[in-house]
């Protein structure tokens, strides 16, 4: 094991899969000559050449569709969105073409494509650049969605996504690109299956369900709860939104009987709404308190920093919710 950044982990995943399979190529805005808007594709053009590391014009709908067409005839495209806020320009391709093709063709055409890039609010980017798209895409049958929060998960999930035979969205976190974590050595093949949540911190009083950028937030809150409130919180990182690891969720809740979901998207029809529904359906009698959710406020993201902080989930909001479900 060694310590690397989330960015480096993604870069290694891309390089290893490009090396492994000649059908894999990376396409997107500024991925080649500029080395990536967030430097995730640093050095890949030099190593793999312009046929496989392909710069595009600002044409999300066009190059997302190009990727899907290439996937129909056997290539395994990795399409980078500079941010998933821009994937909305390609919504028709991501929602109507990629996930529908297998059904519409009666099973003849699967689409082994990876759409990846940063997703969710970063810092003061305003309403157009702050979308957390996971709840939009989770509503679409045929898509798979993973949300890595650590360098290790970023590497292992991206590699799995590239090898998957269905369309997979890898929703990265801009604010975590420079964060560091322990990852297996480069000679170890690191593949993390889609649909497997991970307990990031064990606890006994309450389950905090989180993913992506709410994972570090949940871990910090759990620390505070332990030290200041004597509440032992278990932090469960979903890692994948779809498939959803209900077994891991129910295992944890059957131990703690209390749940707070902290999510980076909006509350209405957000990821937490589905998770809440599934938990109460499976173990209504096992709950000692109503499930609470901490999500964004239901407004377009304001630019002003103080207002942005007010919109986002925070450790304070999470701690308050945990204390409420613990009647503390």
């Amino acid at each position: 094991m060694r310590e690397i950044t989330y960015r480096q982990a993604l870069n290694e995943a891309l390089a290893e899969e490009l090396e492994r399979d000649a059908n894999v190529f990376l396409m997107g805005e500024e991925v080649a000559q500029y080395n990536g808007a967030y430097k995730v594709s640093q050095g890949l053009l030099d190593r793999f050449g312009p046929t496989r590391i392909v710069d595009t014009p600002i044409s999300e709908n066009g190059f997302a569709g190009l990727g899907i067409g290439a996937a129909m005839v056997g290539l395994r495209p990795i399409i980078e969105f500079m941010t998933f806020s821009f994937s909305l320009v390609a919504f028709d391709q991501v929602v109507n073409n990629a996930p529908n093709m297998l059904t519409m063709s009666g099973g003849q055409f699967n689409i082994p494509i990876t759409f990846r890039g940063p997703n969710g609010p970063a810092h003061q980017l305003g309403a157009t650049h702050s979308h957390a798209t996971e709840c939009l895409y989770a509503n679409v049958p045929g898509l798979k969605i993973c949300t890595p929060a650590t360098p290790r998960d970023a590497k292992g999930l991206l590699k799995t996504a590239i090898r998957d035979n269905d369309p997979v969205l890898v929703l990265e976190v801009e604010l975590l690109y420079s964060s560091k974590g322990m990852v297996e050595d480069e000679d170890v093949e690191l593949l993390i299956p889609l649909g497997e949540a991970e307990v990031k911190r064990e606890g006994s009083d309450v389950t905090i369900i989180c993913y992506a950028q709410t994972v570090p937030l949940a871990l910090a809150a759990a620390e505070t709860l332990e030290n200041e409130e004597e509440i032992s919180a278990e932090v469960l990182d979903l890692r994948s939104i779809k498939p959803l690891d209900m077994e891991a969720i129910l295992n944890s809740v059957s131990k703690t009987h209390r749940v707070v979901i902290v999510e980076q998207d909006r509350p209405f029809c957000g990821v937490g709404a589905e998770v809440t529904y599934r938990i109460q359906k499976e173990m209504f009698d096992g709950l000692d308190a109503p499930i609470l959710r901490v999500a964004q406020e239901d407004v377009p993201m304001p630019y002003n920093e103080r207002l942005e902080i007010a919109v986002l989930p925070s450790a304070e909001k999470l701690i308050a919710a945990v204390k409420k479900v613990c009647y503390a």
Binding site: F25, T51, V54, T56, P57, S59, N61, G62, F63, A64, G65, L66, G67, I68, G69, A70, A71, M72, V73, G74, L75, P77, D92, Q93, N96, N97, M101, L102, T103, M104, S105, G106, G107, Q108, F109, N110, P141, G142, K144, N165, D166, G195, K242, P243, L244
Partner: protein, 325 residues
């Protein structure tokens, strides 16, 4: 594999007849409420896709919009599989899961059947990207209507194809109407082919009622693309005799206009050419037509007698391994 110029014209005429008789039968079955959803017929446009198929190799890629029955038939999908798809049966070319607008046939390199206008044009660009990526000399044929040329995805795809010099031919089947909106009411350009110039793509105008003109011009351009990969744009001028879909009486156009095009019918024209050149007798033509009618009729029987897709397979085609999400 036969070189295109030697593909038998009589055989191609017989394919045009099959398409027409199939569509007539589909129309009848739609009215009998055996077919659900939308149903867009190709009658009048037969020389376009058959001319294109005559100019291509069977392993070239073909992708089209929702008026797609003819494209599958021309590529070699059986009338049985096509009719069964309209009936929503498991024996259909998309197992009854796609319907009229979503025909697919991997074996015959028919990549759909796409019903969001122009959303498949980027897909064609991707298929051509894959050919170039693998150093193949395949050409991708991408068909769409005149209604597609004002969509953003069309423009983005043309730019990408030109930028990357991809072996794709964009074929606009200009039948003068996007549903009920005429080209003059939808498009700022007088000539659709001029769209290509904006992307530095060579553009050609072809008479879509003339099988030989479609085939020969396409064959010439395809040969050039196989030599040196680049995109091309064809505006093929044609006409649909029927409304946009089965529910459209087409009251936005005149009887005179329809009659003018009927007088220039692509099947009649090719038949006359072949007869004049003593390559076809009236008896032969009648036999071919009878055979086409019989095939279309038999396809209805096949579709009627086929099984529905099984309910227990409902979740089998959402993900490759059917895993739950």
């Amino acid at each position: 594999m036969q070189p295109p110029e030697q593909r038998d014209e009589v055989e191609m005429l017989s394919l045009m007849l099959l398409i027409r008789r199939f569509e007539e039968r589909a129309s009848q079955q739609y009215q009998a409420q055996k077919i659900g959803g939308f149903c867009h017929l190709y009658i009048g446009q037969e020389a376009v896709v058959v001319g294109a198929v005559a100019a291509t190799r069977p392993d070239d890629y073909l992708i089209t919009a929702y008026r797609d029955h003819a494209h599958a038939l021309a590529r070699g999908t059986s009338a049985d599989a096509c009719m069964a798809e309209l009936f929503g049966k498991a024996t259909g070319c998309s197992r009854g899961l796609g319907g009229s607008m979503h025909y697919f046939d991997r074996e015959h390199h028919m990549y759909g059947g796409h019903a969001i206008v122009a959303a498949h044009v980027p897909l064609a660009t991707g298929m051509a990207f894959a050919s170039k990526y693998r150093n193949e000399d395949r050409v991708t044929l991408c068909f769409f209507g005149d209604g597609a040329i004002n969509q953003g995805s069309f423009h983005e795809a043309l730019n990408l194809a030109a930028l990357y010099k991809l072996p794709v031919i964009f074929i606009c089947e200009n039948n003068l109407f996007a549903m009920g909106t005429s080209v003059e009411r939808s498009t700022s350009l007088k000539e659709i082919v001029d769209r290509a110039e904006g992307y530095d793509i060579p553009g050609f105008v072809v008479d879509g009622m003339n099988f030989r003109e479609v085939r020969d011009k396409l064959a010439e351009v395809i040969a050039s693309i196989r030599q040196d990969s680049h995109p091309a744009f064809f505006e093929i001028r044609t006409y649909r005799y029927r409304g946009h879909s089965m529910s459209d009486p087409a009251s936005y156009r005149t009887k005179e206009q329809l009659e003018k095009y009927r007088m220039d019918d692509p099947i009649t024209r090719l038949r006359a050419q072949l007869t004049r050149e003593e390559k076809l007798t009236n008896e032969q033509f009648d036999q071919m037509d009878q055979a086409a009618k019989a095939t279309a009729l038999a396809s209805v029987k096949f579709a009627e007698e086929s099984e529905e897709p099984p309910l227990e397979k409902l979740y089998d085609y959402t993900y490759v391994n059917g895993e739950p999400a």
